[in-house]
Symmetry: C2
Subunit: 244 residues, 2 copies
DNA sequence: CGAGCCGTTGAGGGGATTCAAGCTCAGTGG
DNA sequence: CCACTGAGCTTGAATCCCCTCAACGGCTCG
């Protein structure tokens, strides 16, 4: 059955994974669809095809990334735990998607990856991809790092800025804005309408909470569009909001 | 002043951008920090250093990407408009960050990028990066595409699944899950607790809205963990929820 | 059969939205 | 100089949606 769909020169390849890879129905949509059959033949022996049951963990956040995977079947979810302690699912991935790309940078995984349904994967060692891109490796690594940073930020945004009551979301936004101070140590404070667009709340709710934080001496409003934060007060307020 | 910090062989380079690039204080953290001075000298003449005032647009969603930028100073926000018509800010970027990476794939931009504060940028044509990575171009392109897809999904998650009242968020989740049907045309339906973790709501709220959608014949619950959607009813319910 | 997990439904309270009024401030023109 | 205007922000009151707390039913499994 299977061999009838294989190119002739692969029909009696020594390694059994050769047939699995060459016949893979998602290959044309998957990462290694970009490779020709000859290149594929060189690497297929290093690729495993593990399966996971529903609700089993594929990898764990902060764990060193030893593999990147392609999803051949099933649904995978990415989870994070907020400082407040509650679990947030920040993304889903399905057939044809690539997961654990951090491993190509030799980074630790940025999320917990867990099977939602029974899943079939292709497990690819990072060295395999690195071997294929020998030149300008440093620039490419930098580029991939930027991409991963952006993705990490986007997922962190979900976990931090869309979670919990309005006061907590405002505090976390101020914390994030505190990382971009200007020369005078002030932060850029968005218009209330923009805060609403960031945190999914009305301008009235944003205004009420900022006013309250001003009365609590967490923030000093410096209109227009600027403010000064009290780092200790902010940290304390964040801990209080996360504790509850 | 400036020339004193330059390597000798660059001090009298013909193109003025040579000095700007070589002296750039963010260079060691920025994308082209990975390049040596010789490579940098070859490309600097193609890099512009534009500035934007606050609240001006750097690029627009769906516009063909003709450049990728590094942020030298200031804060940039990424915006999307939900189907419902409201504006959502899905990410911020600051000094040292790379924005508009889609352009390296010759894709259109995935978001509106707008300056929050006055910003100083480095504008890099995609051809420059492509010239530097001649071999295995297709695999690298595939890889970058995966990265961008993941980022796009993460930002779309913010815009779609964390916006608006609970009923709307549940509907959008069902719509997303509808893209991963199994062989019987059923979808994987998360446990109520997982729906809560995805949409930032309690299991009771998730259950109430699913029950209501069942009574409205939008969804047929097939416990455990599965369901069947009525595509037309779902679409109609989505439009109704977005209209309001 | 009882224990435990998962899901559903109800009652009550609290927080966010909605609707509305009034404020500051910059720009404009009488 | 000051009235006028409009944008942005603040504050209040009423409403509504969602959360909290609680009880209960179906199901699996020891």
């Amino acid at each position: 059955m299977l061999t009838r769909t294989l190119p002739v020169y692969l029909q009696d390849a020594s390694h059994p994974q050769a047939q699995v890879c060459a016949a893979c129905e998602v290959r044309r949509n998957a990462l290694f669809g970009a490779l020709d059959d000859a290149s594929l033949a060189r690497i297929h022996e290093h690729i495993a095809a593990p399966e996971y049951e529903a609700d089993t963990r594929i990898y764990t956040r902060d764990e060193p990334g030893h593999a990147v995977w392609t999803i051949r079947a099933g649904v995978v979810r990415f989870e994070r735990t907020t400082d407040r302690g509650d679990r947030r699912i920040v993304r889903l991935a399905g057939r044809g998607d690539l997961i654990g790309q951090e491993a190509l940078l030799r980074w630790t995984y940025a999320d917990d990856a867990i099977a939602c349904t029974p899943v079939q994967l292709c497990r690819i060692p990072p060295a395999l991809v690195e071997d294929l891109s020998e030149s300008r490796a440093r620039l490419l690594r930098e580029l991939m790092a930027r991409w991963q940073d952006a993705l990490d930020q986007a997922q962190g945004w979900v976990a931090d800025l869309t979670t919990g009551p309005a006061r907590r979301r405002v505090l976390r936004l101020l914390d994030a804005l505190g990382r971009y101070p200007d020369a005078q140590g002030r932060i850029w404070l968005p218009r209330r309408e923009d805060i609403g667009a960031m945190l999914d709340m009305t301008i009235e709710t944003a205004s009420r909470h900022l006013s309250r934080l001003r009365r609590e001496a967490v923030i000093e409003l410096l209109p227009p569009r600027h403010a000064r934060l009290s780092a200790p007060a902010l940290e304390q307020a964040l801990r209080a909001a996360d504790a509850d």
